[in-house]
């Protein structure tokens, strides 16, 4: 049973249409990867779900409830948390305070500061540093921890690995099973196609605001995606 369903979503920035009739299904415990070139609309899709963009109420259905266009603070308290593009920690807050911000949704659950420290031990000695003093990888860990602190059912990851060293990305990717174990489903945007296919169960390729390839990750090859990127039909 799908518990997040996007149906025929059209999204706009002013007069500019960024998404055209996008339909996506997320099942409980699933990991979905969104891939596509820059400006294809992947981030826009995540933003539409998170409540940053005014989209029709019926376009996003979650737990049998229409939540499209609800304010972002309501969406997160329903259990959909975000790791925004570029991390966007609060620069004048310490790591500890940044994590505390994740609890503002008021959702109860298993995630706590200690549990975040368990999956990202490197943050332990950084607790009282400002968010702006951390390396990119550590910032990403805080951003993920901050999202988890809201005890979400779904986490929307925008750009899992952008601007990070491969070693750091692997460290973060290693935490994904732990995150899933707490009953979290994931939709993530990833530039690296091979990594996206490896980490996900299901994949959607987005090009110019439209889905032009989708399927089980294990059935899709790098070459399929490449063909989809260049806009060629896969016979």
């Amino acid at each position: 049973m799908s518990f997040l369903k996007i149906s025929k979503l059209n999204a706009f920035y002013g007069d500019f249409q960024a998404l055209f009739d996008i339909s996506i299904c997320l099942y409980e415990g699933q990991k979905i990867a969104l891939i596509g070139p820059n400006g294809a609309g992947k981030s826009t899709l995540l933003r539409s779900i998170a409540g940053w963009l005014p989209v029709p109420r019926k376009a996003v259905k979650y737990n049998k409830r229409n939540i499209g266009g609800l304010p972002a603070n309501d969406v997160v308290s329903l259990g959909i948390a975000s790791v925004p593009e570029g991390r966007r920690l609060f620069p004048s807050l310490s790591v500890k305070e940044n994590l505390q911000m994740g609890q503002e949704s008021g959702r109860k659950g298993v995630w706590s500061q200690d549990k975040v420290m368990q999956i990202f031990p490197v943050l332990r000695e950084r607790l009282y540093h400002l968010g702006s003093e951390l390396s990119g990888g550590q910032q990403q860990m805080v951003a993920i921890g901050r999202a988890l602190m809201s005890n979400p059912r779904i986490v929307l990851f925008d750009e899992l690995s952008l601007g990070l060293a491969p070693k750091v990305v692997n460290e973060i990717a290693k935490a994904i099973p732990d995150i899933q174990k707490s009953g979290v489903s994931i939709i993530f945007v990833e530039q690296d196609v091979r990594r996206a296919l490896r980490l996900s169960d299901y994949v959607y390729c987005i090009l110019e605001g439209r889905i032009n390839l989708q399927g089980q990750s294990k059935n899709i090859t790098f070459e399929d995606v490449e063909a989809a990127f260049w806009g060629q039909k896969n016979d």
Partner: protein, 286 residues
């Protein structure tokens, strides 16, 4: 020489009142990026409310001192929630226009109700009592103003860095979009920030109402002082407002020491000098 030192001390003490004028303006600009052009008129509104409660409603002084800041806080919350929140966005012009309009409404409304007469709050003997330390005479009332200013600013600093509300205020200042994404009702936080700013305005309004006389048109000059203090002390810096207030107070006192006609002008000149030099040497007294 002793007279010169005396002037400087007076300047420092009155700097506390200037800091109170500025703290609310700085808070509101820091968090919501709203330049509140009606800030001075809201202070004058507070002064008139204080005057009205004491003289017409004959409420005892101690009770008025409690009621007015709270009432101003409620007014602040209501204005933000019902009016100013709707103007916040990428465009900086709507909040400017709305607060400018609010300023005109307040000035003329007060003029209608209270006429253009000079008013002053009477605090009794404390206004003229003074203490002499080493040949420097300090008015008790000026000392009281300064102590209240330091207390208010320390309190504001404490709230900012040691409470959940402070964390929410700082997070919203940093990035309102992400704060909302974390589940923060930013509209509410904005209104709380305005309420805090207006509580401080209420305190400043009472102190100012007993310090000098005021009319419904006194607002813009208070706004000017607040602006200068914020620019001198650094936008969004809490202690900076106290430093800015003291610098402006001392500049005016020194100007007045050399020539009474120079009192106000000296403050403005110091402000311009700091405005020009500031980018060169500091980014705020943080």
């Amino acid at each position: 020489m002793i007279e010169l030192i005396n002037s400087i001390v007076q300047g420092i003490l009155i700097g506390g009142l200037y800091a109170l004028f500025a703290a609310g303006l700085s808070l509101v600009f820091g968090i919501m990026r709203i330049v509140n052009l009606s800030h001075g008129d809201l202070i004058v509104l507070g002064s008139f409310l204080a005057f009205f409660t004491v003289s017409t409603l004959t409420v005892p002084l101690w009770l008025m001192v409690v009621i007015i800041p709270l009432a101003m806080g409620v007014i602040g919350y209501a204005i933000q929630r019902s009016l100013l929140n709707k103007t916040i966005g990428p465009d900086v012009l709507p909040p400017l226009l709305i607060t400018f309009g609010l300023s005109i409404i307040l000035q003329n409304g007060l003029l209608q109700i209270f006429t253009a007469d000079n008013r002053k709050l009477d605090f009794g003997a404390i206004e003229v009592m003074s203490v002499e330390i080493g040949g420097i005479a300090m008015g008790w009332y000026a000392i009281l103003i300064f102590l209240i200013a330091v207390t208010v600013i320390t309190g504001l600093q404490f709230i900012s860095y040691h409470t959940r509300l402070g964390r929410l205020l700082r997070a919203t200042t940093d990035d309102p979009e992400i704060a909302k994404l974390m589940g923060v009702k930013t509209e509410h936080i904005f209104a709380i920030a305005m309420a805090i700013a207006m509580i401080i305005c209420g305190i400043a309004a009472i102190l100012f109402a007993a310090w000098t006389s005021f009319t419904p048109l006194s607002g813009p000059s208070r706004l000017l002082i607040a602006f200068e203090v914020v620019v001198i002390g650094g936008i969004g810096s809490i202690w900076g407002t106290l430093v800015g207030g003291i610098i402006l107070g001392v500049a005016q006192a020194l100007g007045g020491y050399f020539d009474p006609a120079w009192q106000t002008l000296a403050g403005h000149i110091v402000f311009v000098i700091i405005l020009v030099l500031r980018p060169i040497f500091v980014k705020g007294f943080r």
